[in-house]
C-alpha cells in the first residue's frame, strides 16, 4: 500500500515536471506601439491611463505583466489562452488602426463591459485585486469613452 502511494507520488511529480517542457510563447513585445490607445491620446488624464494599464492591458495589449505563477504549467497554458481570447476581442496597441466606426463601437463596448462588471473578468480580479475598478474609475472610463465616441462621430 505504501509502495503504491509512493509510486503515484512519483508519477504525479514526474508529470508535473514533464509538462513544464511545454512552454508557451510569452506575450511581450519590444516594439513601440505607435497605434496604441494611450499613445494616441496623450491628453488623457494620467489616472485614467493608469487604470487602462492596470485593469485592461494584461490581456488586451502586446505586453502582459506576468505574475510568477504564469510561468508554471498548467497555469501558463490557461493564461496564454486568456490572452489570446482577450487580444482577439481588442488589442489596445492597435487601436488607431481601427476605422472610425470600429472605434466608436469599441468605445461604446468598453463603457458597457466595465459598467456591467463583465470586465475585468472575476477570475482575473481574484488574482489581481489591484485591477478592480471603483465606481469612480468606471465613471471616468465612461465619461472619456462617450466623449471620444461623440468626437469621432462629429468628425466627418
Amino acid at each position: 500500500m505504501k509502495k503504491i502511494g509512493r509510486i503515484s507520488l512519483y508519477i504525479i511529480l514526474g508529470s508535473f515536471i514533464f509538462i513544464q517542457f511545454f512552454r508557451v510563447e510569452l506575450n511581450t513585445s519590444a516594439e513601440v506601439p505607435e497605434h496604441d490607445l494611450l499613445l494616441v491620446h496623450p491628453d488623457m488624464e494620467t489616472d485614467l491611463q493608469q487604470t487602462f494599464r492596470t485593469s485592461c492591458y494584461d490581456y488586451h495589449s502586446d505586453n502582459t505583466d506576468y505574475p510568477w505563477y504564469a510561468h508554471i504549467a498548467p497555469f501558463s497554458w490557461v493564461i496564454d489562452q486568456h490572452i489570446r481570447n482577450g487580444k482577439h476581442e481588442v488589442n489596445y496597441n492597435g487601436y488607431d488602426t481601427l476605422g472610425k466606426r470600429k472605434k466608436i463601437a469599441l468605445l461604446d463596448e468598453i463603457c458597457e463591459v466595465v459598467s456591467d462588471s463583465s470586465m475585468p473578468p472575476a477570475n482575473y480580479l481574484m488574482l489581481h485585486p489591484e485591477a478592480v475598478l471603483s465606481e469612480e474609475d468606471i465613471a471616468a472610463i465612461c465619461e472619456w469613452t462617450e466623449m471620444e465616441a461623440l468626437k469621432l462621430l462629429r468628425r466627418k
Binding site: 466606426r101 469599441l106 465616441a149 462621430l153
Partner: protein
C-alpha cells in the same frame, strides 16, 4: 349544487398545460426591412427583447430598447451584430441545439450583415 361545477372548473384550471409563450409576442416597430426583421424575430428575439427571461442576452442587446440607445451605442450594436453573426457566435450553439431550425443560413448572414453595415454607415452620417 354549484360545488361539483366549481370542482370541475378548478380541475380544468389546474390541468391546463403550462402556457408556453410564443417565441415573439412583442411588437417591435423599428422601420427595418421586413426580411431582416423576420430573421431577428425568428433567431434573436428569444433572448434579445424586453420580455425575454435571458437577463444576459437582453443586457447585451435589447431590441425593445433600441430607440432609447444613444447614437454611438446603436452604431456599436450594429457593428457587434455583424461580428457575431459572421463569426457564427450568435445564435449560440447551445440554443441551436434546441432549435436547429433557427440557425442563420449563409444567405441570411450575408443579408443581416450587409443591412447592418449600411444602417451603421447611415447612422454615422447623422
Amino acid at each position: 349544487m354549484l360545488l361539483p361545477v366549481f370542482a370541475i372548473f378548478v380541475f380544468i384550471a389546474a390541468h391546463q398545460p403550462t402556457q408556453v409563450p410564443e417565441a415573439v409576442s412583442e411588437d417591435i416597430e423599428l422601420g427595418w426591412p421586413e426580411e431582416v426583421m423576420t430573421i431577428f424575430e425568428r433567431s434573436c428575439f428569444d433572448c434579445h427583447i424586453a420580455e425575454s427571461g435571458n437577463i444576459k442576452g437582453k443586457s447585451k442587446l435589447n431590441f425593445s430598447k433600441w430607440e432609447d440607445y444613444k447614437l454611438t451605442k446603436k452604431i456599436g450594436k450594429l457593428d457587434d451584430i455583424i461580428k457575431e453573426v459572421e463569426e457564427k457566435k450568435m445564435p449560440p450553439k447551445k440554443y441551436l441545439n434546441d432549435y436547429p431550425d433557427r440557425a442563420l443560413s449563409d444567405e441570411e448572414i450575408k443579408l443581416v450583415s450587409e443591412w447592418a453595415n449600411a444602417e451603421a454607415d447611415k447612422l454615422m452620417q447623422e
